[in-house]
Symmetry: C2
């Protein structure tokens, strides 16, 4: 775009375009929207980002992100300390929390093993997980990893590492997604759903 | 979502979700992306927003937004001062500049007349436009307004107001969009394209 609006606006558009979900065109719309809603949106968003810059940290125990360290989840006394849910990413932790699926604590690996992309065990927080798993109050590790090759490779690797420990290692059930239609599902999911069928 | 990540992150997500093009889910992804790319993206975006908050103004001449007032377009000596392109919104101005379609100056109305939504002439910068149009160096007003009922109502209203002035009032051509396929076009566009046909 020729310089109609000054380099400052161009820079704002370029940075917004780097957010996931926004392309160059929607970043322009977003920038214009921000400028129009200067007091109602741009000012509070600027302040929220300043606060985030200042306060948000990675939890030294579990790898969650929060404004407290250790994070709210790790320090919540109502959570069951005997369960650690292992996730690849903070987004997965948030998804499980939204589902209100489990009342344990978490461990964020920071990714999954991926030999093709050069991600090895030393790139993930697997050592920290193993030492947390050896804490006598931990009874169960739920591996909530993606049902992809990399996710399952990582799950196997962790299971092997903890083979001789007292902790129980479990994984998520495979099956038909709630609300899912059978004729849209792949064969692997269907056969897993049949194999792991439960009593009505 | 239960409070896993502290109110500061929640607030950031809520504000991001108010940007056009981002919903609650993509706002969470965007927030997480910002937090992960703290130095590479969150810091520069925060700075860009701070600059925008501080510097961006609405041009008192044409209604464009810029860090200068009057704006870069209004003060550019290479632009033809005899042409004023009338647009409803700054986004339209940007679109015309990207197309590099015209080398005149602009006038941003701030919307279109819309009796149903209660938008009357006093809500738009029509008075300012009329007084700019009476400047003797202005020869032509190009009404670059949407081809919608509201856009065309606004165009008619402005044309009537300037009926007795010396300025020439023109509007955008109707026709087949470049790259457009005839059998996807509506009848109105096709018949306009036939009526306004030009020599090969």
């Amino acid at each position: 775009m020729p310089a109609v609006a000054g380099p400052e606006i161009e820079r704002l558009i370029q940075l917004l375009a780097r957010l996931p979900g926004l392309g160059p065109r929607s970043a322009r719309r977003a920038a214009l929207h921000l400028i129009k809603k200067r007091e109602l949106l741009m000012a509070p968003l600027t302040a929220a980002l300043e606060t985030a810059m200042e306060k948000i940290e990675v939890c030294r125990t579990c790898g969650n992100i929060d404004t407290h360290n250790p994070c709210t989840v790790c320090t919540d006394p109502r959570r069951d300390p005997s369960i650690i849910v292992v996730v690849a990413d903070v987004a997965d932790l948030w998804a499980l929390e939204r589902a209100n699926a489990v009342n344990g604590r978490y461990h964020v690996l920071g990714g999954t093993l991926s030999p093709l992309d050069g991600v090895g065990p030393q790139d993930l927080s697997i050592d920290q997980l193993v030492s947390r798993a050896h804490d006598p109050q931990v009874k169960e590790l739920i591996l909530a990893l993606n049902a992809t090759v990399d996710g399952q490779t990582t799950a196997h690797y962790i299971t092997e590492l903890l083979r001789d420990s007292a902790v129980k290692v479990t994984k998520l059930a495979h099956g038909v997604p709630v609300g899912g239609e059978l004729d849209y599902l792949d064969e692997g999911t269907l056969s897993a759903a049949i194999k792991q069928r439960t009593l009505f």
